[in-house]
Amino acid sequence: MAKARKIPEIAKKPSSFCPGCGHGIAIRLITECLEEMGQDTNVMFGIGVGCSSLLGGVLETDRLHCLHGRAGAVCTGMKRVSPNQMVVSYQGDGDAYSIGIGETTSAAYRNENISVFVVNNTNYGMTGGQMSNTTLPGQKTTTSVLGRDCAITGSPIKFPELVSDQFNVAYAARGAVTTPAEINKTKKYIKEALTAQLNGEGYSVVEILSACPTNWGMTPLQSVEHIHTKVVEHFPLGEYKTREAK
């Protein structure tokens, strides 16, 4: 028989995400991991702008709603003066990979000892579904109405691959919050990321593929199917950089 999982103390307030959105699951997993690690009362969040902003209304913990894209820098400042506290950024793909690509990449480049969680739903959700740096080739959005033309807009950016290949980071992975199996795997990635920080190993990032039924124009179930068939073709799941000091 399935056992109800206890709601983490710091995430008890109701959220206002759309039906079928993956954000709620991602937040649940992060806060569960923090609680299981005994770090839920020793944590500060840098929260991005976009749908990730809604986390600010859910969490009962130290949190700063960062300017668009700047969580990588804000979390750097927090961690440098609070080395004994867990510092976590929670951002979307538009926030972390477009307007904040400089801050996100530079924090990884410096191997800042922070954990970065980027919810990738292949579009700007909060503003109504515009093309982002992770929009799939041919995907229709409100700013790519004929489908994304990669010849003039670039191809989907693969951040965990980029930092694990080019930089000396502690941990990088990509999970999905679609099925129980994938959710369980993603939770493991999240815990690995947080453990890396707790042990002072350096920068950790987990990208979390999430459904956006509202802007994709799909039902929640269609959205999950879309992730498994289309999105993962461009954003393969798995660990890209595993922790060395296990």
Binding site: D62, T76, G77
Partner: protein, 352 residues
């Protein structure tokens, strides 16, 4: 009397002694020496120094440090301060205390490396989006820069606001004797993050902008009432009163001394806070004063607007306000004296 020290180095050392423990910034002339000094000095005292990837990242790192209740600061110039504006308005909005040092350089766009006062309006009005007023302090000597840096940290924490030390390129680069402050113990303010959520926060969607606006205006009124700072000389019997801050203010003080020796009844108000503008300084001025003369190192005359507004508020007889805007650098004492004579002779017309 202290030892000769470069303005930027004195500011950096003083910040460490005042207990600042986070600096993040990006190199830009003429403020870079602050960062260079801090880069080795901050680790010596166990503080954090980050050479940020950009001006924007730098100010956002300061937000992170300030959010934790740690004395945090940054410095920049010209276009660098432009880039920081989103962070400055964010600091203000979050009621975080932080100090921004603007070593002002001349020009629009990329600008130049000349020393200037062209950022007066931007600093005093708050250069980012929204509706806010940082406290702006303007030193005219290295000693005053050091002393005002301490005031800036104290006021920013007292009022939970942003304080700007608006210095000038020349003041950063020059040397003169300066007494450095004693070390004070750094602290973490209880309103800062500790990881335990000790200081509760209103959820971002539960904020009441109307209530916040009322509270902000009340806070601004208190700051205006209590924190006006200035120096004045010979204003009680003056026919003309100069108003000038920073290094041009210092040169104007010299010009006033020379003009007095030559028998001219002139005085000077040297604002030390640019915001709040020292309106109270005008209450001491001779009621029969013939006019006010703003002396500034910018092209258009910026502070002259505050002078004119204050004169309108404090005097009923529409006194003329003149603008001597010397673009950049430090105006020579002799030049100020000659232009004063032109004003007195009616050759330079008032602007307000």
């Amino acid at each position: 009397m202290g030892e000769m020290i470069k303005g930027n180095h004195a500011i950096a050392e003083a910040a460490v002694r005042f207990g600042a423990r986070l600096y993040a910034g990006y190199p830009i002339t003429p403020s870079t020496e602050i960062m260079e000094y801090i880069s080795w000095r901050m680790p010596e005292v166990g503080g954090a120094f980050v050479q940020a990837e950009s001006e924007i990242a730098g100010i956002n790192m300061v937000i992170g440090g300030a959010a934790c209740g740690v004395r945090s600061f940054t410095a920049s110039s010209g276009p660098g301060i432009s880039l920081k504006q989103e962070g400055i308005t964010q600091l203000y909005d979050e009621e975080l205390a932080a100090v921004i040092i603007n070593v002002v350089r001349y020009g629009n766009g990329i600008g130049t490396l000349y020393s200037a006062q062209c950022d007066y309006l931007r600093e005093t009005r708050g250069g980012g989006n929204g509706d806010y007023r940082p406290i702006v302090l303007c030193p005219s000597s290295i000693q005053e820069a050091v002393d005002l840096l301490g005031v800036a940290f104290d006021l920013s924490e007292k009022y939970r606001t942003v304080a700007v030390l608006m210095t000038e390129g020349a003041l950063g680069q020059m040397m003169e004797p300066c007494d450095l402050p004693e070390f004070i113990e750094p602290k973490r303010y209880p309103w800062g993050f500790d990881g335990k959520y000790s200081y509760k926060k209103v959820g971002i969607f539960e904020r009441d902008s109307m209530k916040e606006a009322v509270a902000m205006n009340e806070k601004n009124a208190v700051i205006k009432e209590n924190e006006q700072r200035w120096a004045d000389v010979d204003v009680e019997d003056a026919d003309y009163v100069f108003v000038s801050f920073g290094l041009p203010g210092r040169s104007t003080e010299g010009a006033v001394e020379e003009l007095r020796k030559a028998g001219h009844k002139v005085g000077i108000i040297r604002p030390i806070t640019a915001w709040p503008f020292p309106e109270k300084a005008f209450e001491k001025v001779n009621p029969n004063v013939k006019g006010f003369i703003s002396v500034e190192a910018n092209a258009t005359g910026q502070m002259v607007e505050d002078v004119a507004l204050t004169v309108k508020k404090k005097f009923s007889d529409n006194k003329p306000v003149y603008s001597l805007a010397y673009v950049y650098g430090i105006p020579e004492m002799e030049k100020i004296q000659k232009d004063y004579e032109k004003i007195a002779a009616g050759e330079i017309k008032e602007v307000f």
